[in-house]
Amino acid sequence: MALLSVRDLEVRFVTRRATVHAVNGVSFDLEPGETLGIVGESGCGKSVTSLAMLGILPKPAGRVTGGSVVFQDRDLLKLPDSELRKVRGRDIAMIFQDPMTSLNPVLTVGRQLTEALTAHLSMDKKEAVKQAGELLDRVGIPAAATRLNDYPHQFSGGMRQRVMIAMAISCRPKVLIADEPTTALDVTIQAQILDVLSTLVREEGMALILITHDLGVVAGVCRRTNVMYAGRFVETGSTDELYARPRHPYTLGLLKSVPRLDAARRERLEPIAGAPPSNMHEATGCPFAPRCVYATQESRERMPELRPIDRHDHLVACWNPVPDADLPEHEIVAAEWEPR
């Protein structure tokens, strides 16, 4: 029994002028303690998927139009907001992309940290402050107890992201969703933050959903990876398998467009031609077909479903998967970051 089970999630943004089909039938299961990556380019629906799961889509345009998000036998999408609020932060917590804007500038870090503790665990003030100090210490902030009275602008970007992580794990959630947690940080800080994240996830036995467009980050952290395109998962499998034998042309394209240090000088990066489709209309064929060199007549006319290829846990939504001959000889992306 999966801890979190998302089925056919559909999200639309409805405005007077148009309807944006942001997420179109996303399904996945998350086991306790699992690390799951969701990769895809900007605007493919990664973040919207996670916001929809927690019921915090921007109102009034964003709405969930179908599917279910079952967490511990309860469909989160059917819960009244007062119930869902208890799940947020306590059972499922989230870390956001930009640490510079994700903390309230007028509250001390201590107050923001104790917020969830007093709300969800009904701790008293003193206890919460003590706990907050310990949390900051755990995410590696030096002189943690002395910094509780500081304001966010007194922290650097990396330190702020550590504070965000401390806030997210404060109630020991069972699922942690990290939405591009390192995108706004420089590379050395990235490695530190990922280090903190994966250590915590391992120690606490939390399940992690890591949302990113950085294939290197996923390679280091996640055991399983979903590749998302135009609001759908197009390929899913173990990270190793996916990187060694990408079957969806989009996955292959993504991997080929990442530079690597050990590549020969002459090897050129291959960008994916074209641009993602407009999601104003319901797609009929494979959404990647217009940019795909493997596209067939069928691709353009019928939507491919995820189905197993090679192995039972490697699924691909493609009518004409990348043939063996076109697979790269060696693994294309090396992990930018290795867990300690």
Binding site: L54, G89, T101, L107, E115, A119
Partner: protein, 298 residues
């Protein structure tokens, strides 16, 4: 003691420099704003200790009834008015009225405006539409005209006038707060707080409101200055408090403006009082605007 320990101690000693503290620091280094503050504090002291500072009662007749009142000098520092009352004493007592008028009318405008703006910005939808259209209608009527209309309805007491001037300010505060809330509502830290399970009430009061208040505070100071002018202007137009004995600056100005040739001091001194009080408050408002500017935040 190791270096780390020493550093930790230093960190502890260091005062947490909050945003408001930063703003205060910047305000303190703004000479114009500080000058305004000094003048305002003096005015407040004058208002508080009026009976000690005034040489006579505000309605005490100390000279003859005359069409050619005595000018400044001797016992009567600012001269006498046509009823033989000491102008200096009247102006001193008038300070109380003007500051009261500024405070009360801003309090009225601010409290109504904040509630309407917060409801409008946070709830949105048809409530927002309704409130904002009413505010638009109020804004489309010139402020002084609206105040005159309200006074006609409410009556000519001092409190009614403050209420009227306050109500004129409501749409300005409501709009300011609403726009602040709209820009903060979708901000990352609000989404983050929501993702941690903060309830709606808390989101509004703890996260959104404090971050939208800075422009409102600035506007409140400036509105105070305008309120003083408005009430003086209404009195000048003959719509001031019905009681003729009230030493309202605008009324004193109005009573004497038509006969400048005999007793120009009766126009100069009340006019000057209005100017310095309004100027000092405006300087403070401008200083606040600069020190609370989010672009200057570290």
């Amino acid at each position: 003691m190791s270096i780390a320990e020493a550093e930790a101690q230093e960190l502890q000693l260091e005062q947490p420099a909050g945003l408001w503290r930063d703003a205060l620091d910047r305000f303190r280094h703004n000479p114009a704003a500080m000058a305004g503050l000094v003048v305002l504090i003096l005015l407040i002291l004058v208002a508080l200790f009026a009976p000690l500072l005034a040489r006579f009662g505000p309605n005490q007749q100390v000279g003859p009834l005359t069409t050619d009142p005595a000018g400044p000098g001797g016992e009567f520092w600012f001269g006498l008015d046509r009823q033989g009352k000491d102008l200096y004493s009247r102006l001193i007592y008038g300070t109380r009225l003007s500051l009261l008028v500024g405070l009360v009318s801003v309090a009225v405008g601010l409290s109504l405006g904040l509630v309407l703006g917060a409801v409008s910005g946070y709830l949105g939808g048809w409530i927002d539409n309704l409130i904002m259209r009413v505010m638009d209608v109020m804004l489309s009527i010139p402020g002084l005209l609206l105040a005159i209309g309200l006074i006609t309805v409410l009556g000519r007491g001092l409190f009614q006038i403050m209420l009227a001037v306050g109500i004129v300010n409501v749409p300005i505060f409501a709009r300011l707060l609403r726009s602040g809330i709209l820009s903060q509502r979708e901000s990352d830290y609000v989404t983050a707080a929501r993702s941690l399970g903060a309830p709606g009430r808390r989101l509004l009061l703890v996260h959104i409101l404090p971050n939208s208040l800075a422009p409102v505070i600035v506007q409140a100071t400036l509105a105070m200055a305008t309120a003083i002018i408005d009430v003086a202007g209404l009195s000048f137009l003959g719509l001031g408090p019905a009681d003729p004995g009230l030493p309202e600056w605008g009324r004193i100005l109005a009573e004497n403006a038509s006969r400048l040739e005999s007793g120009s001091h009766l126009v100069f001194f009340p006019g000057f009082a209005i100017v310095i009080s309004v100027l000092s408050i405006n300087l403070i408002g401008d200083g606040l605007r600069e020190s609370l500017d989010p672009k200057l935040r570290a």
